[in-house]
Amino acid sequence: MTAPRREMLGYAFVAPTLVFLVAFNVFPLAYNLVLGFTDAELVARGFEWRGTANYGRVFADPEFAQALRRTGLFVASAVAIELVLGFVVALALRARFRGRDVLLTALLVPMMLSPAVIGLFWNLILDGNYGVLNQALGALGLAEPQWTTDSDFKFLSILLIDVWMWTPFMLLISLAALNSIPGTLYEAAEVDRAGRWTVFRRITLPLCAPLLGLAALLRATDALKQFDLVMAVTGPNDERTQTVSTLLYQVLFRDGKLGLGSAYACLALVLVIALATVFTRYLDTLARRST
């Protein structure tokens, strides 16, 4: 095959993917950028240019600032709790014991379910009046909080559901990281009479760190989009639980403001990219250290 022909064939192979990416990623992103400078509405024909007015509105909007803070708090809390819990359970499951595989499979079930379904059935569990949890608390003579309606508990309830759902993901990655550590390192540590804490601090944790960092990055970018659980538990406009995604939903699909919503979306995207960049640089640093 001649070189130009080989080149053409190469282009032919990547063309479908390129077309797909341009049509479904690049074009919507570019169109979203354009819409952010207009007064476009979901149901109106055409639009007029508004310059940077939408961005001015977004920066001045306390609701957006609050949704950002709420989302940040959610991401930090959820990822931290899930990471610690997942890693601890993985350490416990590293040892081989009878029924381990069955237990591991059972623990992985929550992350395989749809978030919307999980939100709905946790709604039933947490219902203040007839939910299983409050029935159990009541039977024990304990207080029965209104998990999904009390403004002090709503956010915590969503966090609890997310932790229940995604800790298995951290468990899975943690197990993979633990299993990738060569046994010879532990044998050498044993020869050197290193204590368990030292082994954990000097071998287990540093060698697991890159993979755990990657898991945290994946979970953080996913948690930043938190939508399903909030929609299922409290709806999109509850100030106590409103995340950036549900605020966007409110602005775009309920208020029908495409232009303003696009400006919100662009800023949210910039923040996600910034966060992802920080994470990836951190991972690079870890990788350089380990080599």
Binding site: E41, L42, V43, A44, R45, G128, N129, Y130, E144, Q146, T148, T149, D150, S151, T234, G235, P236, N237, D238, E239, Q250, F253, R254, D255, G256
Partner: protein
């Protein structure tokens, strides 16, 4: 050609041909008149009633029931396209401003008087469900299901001799259906016995869409409060007044006389609180009352919402039939044919036999037969004269959103009532100014 390929080729060609011909046959058929409504008993009733239309005219009608939680979003996303899947949308009363000003709803002003005498439509239903701007005489919908918030109470508890004696001893008057909000509060206090899992009252207070606002409005207007000035959209100085503050404080007090979680109950949850036998009184839309009646029979009573100082106002509910502008002219004609049929008095008389098939036809509403038909029809007919609605301007959703948030903060004690109302008034004026509805 390989034998397998030889045998598959005719099959493939046959299936392509069959596919094309069935597509062609489909396009030749008249598509049913498609009506979108949210999923609830009146929609099922309308689907049943529409079968009579099909029998009479040969035109099929497809009433699609969309889940309530996503109904608004699905409808307006449809309007975002060039052609809607529905010919008729049964839209919430608050949508009419957006439908009219954004060119989504067909204007019916010229056509409607040719099929019905407009004065046969209850003026409140016309004003809030059909016209935009309110009372302008420009029609964008025909009334479908007219609704208002009413009161349901446990008649068996109210008639219990021991309860009546205890109530009289404590309050110095008979235990009777409350005519004022103060009487309502006393009765709710009397039945509020959490240790016995018995509660005073339940209101719509949900934060997800509009429940809290609809629940509060019944007190807002009765206490002399307002959403905005009578003759303009000005809010500051009209909403954040002592009258509105008194209404909100009183409402917060009533919410505390409810079951656990009473500060955040959607319409369905209010119904659940009453139907699980724990709550003495509920305020909710009349459309929910048939299921209460079916469950409790003689043990339940119905009444209009109470009032204050001789003022009684019920939150409006219900929806109108609007024709999409984004359909072909011949489909608009079919839609008009269905609406014209639906509005006829004999059809309306069949409509009221369906669960919560509440009419806006004044003659039927005033008829003794209608009032006697069910225990909740008479209080409904009395409520319709007092009903009022929230904003229905194109930015109703943003106004509703801030209203829900600030009322919620006051109910939850996160803000004082006055601070919540001051902030709400300022937010509403900002939204209205941005929308060009305030100078």
């Amino acid at each position: 050609m390989a034998p397998l390929q030889r045998s598959l080729l005719p099959l493939l060609l046959a299936s392509i041909f069959a596919g094309c011909s069935s597509k062609a046959a489909e396009s030749d058929e008249i598509r049913p008149v498609t009506v979108w409504w949210f999923q609830w008993p009146p929609a099922a009733g309308l689907a049943e009633l529409a079968q009579d239309f099909t029998r009479e005219t040969g035109i099929a009608v497809d009433v699609r029931q969309i889940p309530l939680d996503s109904y608004q979003e699905q409808v307006f996303q449809e309007f975002g396209g060039n052609e809607t899947k529905f010919d008729i949308v049964i839209g919430d009363s608050q949508w009419i401003g957006r439908g009219a000003t954004k060119g989504l709803y067909e204007e019916l002003t010229e056509w409607l008087p040719s099929v019905i005498a407009l004065d046969s439509i209850h003026p409140r239903a016309a004003r809030y469900l059909c016209e935009y701007p309110e009372g302008s005489g420009r029609w964008y919908a025909a009334p479908c299901e007219t609704d208002a918030i009413g009161l349901a109470y446990r008649k068996d508890w109210f008639e219990d001799a021991a309860e009546r004696t205890a109530f009289k001893k404590r309050f110095g008057r008979e235990l009777a259906v409350p005519a004022t909000w103060e009487e309502f509060r006393d009765i709710a206090q009397f039945f509020q016995r959490p240790a016995e899992k018995r509660y005073g009252c339940a209101f719509p207070t949900g934060r997800a869409y509009d429940s809290l606002t609809m629940g509060f409005q019944n007190l807002l207007w009765a206490f002399g409060g307002k959403w905005h000035a009578d003759d303009s959209n000005h809010v500051v100085g009209h909403l954040n007044t002592p009258a509105t503050a008194a209404a909100l404080e009183f409402f917060a007090e009533l919410v505390r006389l409810g079951p656990k979680g009473a500060e955040n109950l959607g319409y369905g949850e209010v119904l659940e609180a009453f139907q699980n036998g724990s709550t003495a009184m509920l305020c909710n839309y009349f459309a929910f009352f048939p299921s209460i009646q079916a469950q409790y029979g003689e043990r339940v009573g119905f009444a209009p919402v109470p009032g204050k100082d001789g003022r009684r106002v019920a939150s409006l509910g219900g929806q109108g039939l609007s024709i999409s502008t984004r359909i072909a002219p011949e489909r608009k004609e079919l839609a008009k044919k269905f609406i014209a049929w639906f509005l006829q008095r004999p059809v309306q008389e069949r409509w009221i036999e369906k669960p919560a098939g509440f009419t806006a036809n004044t003659a039927i509403l005033a008829s003794p037969a209608f009032r006697a038909q069910t225990p909740y029809n008479a209080p409904f007919a009395d409520s319709i004269d007092t009903m009022r609605d929230f904003w229905n301007v194109p930015v109703f959703n943003e106004l509703l959103n801030v209203t829900q948030k600030h009322l919620g903060k006051a109910i939850d004690g996160e803000l004082s009532v006055q601070d919540a109302l001051d902030q709400l008034a300022a937010e509403k004026e900002r939204i209205l100014k941005e929308a060009g509805l305030l100078p």
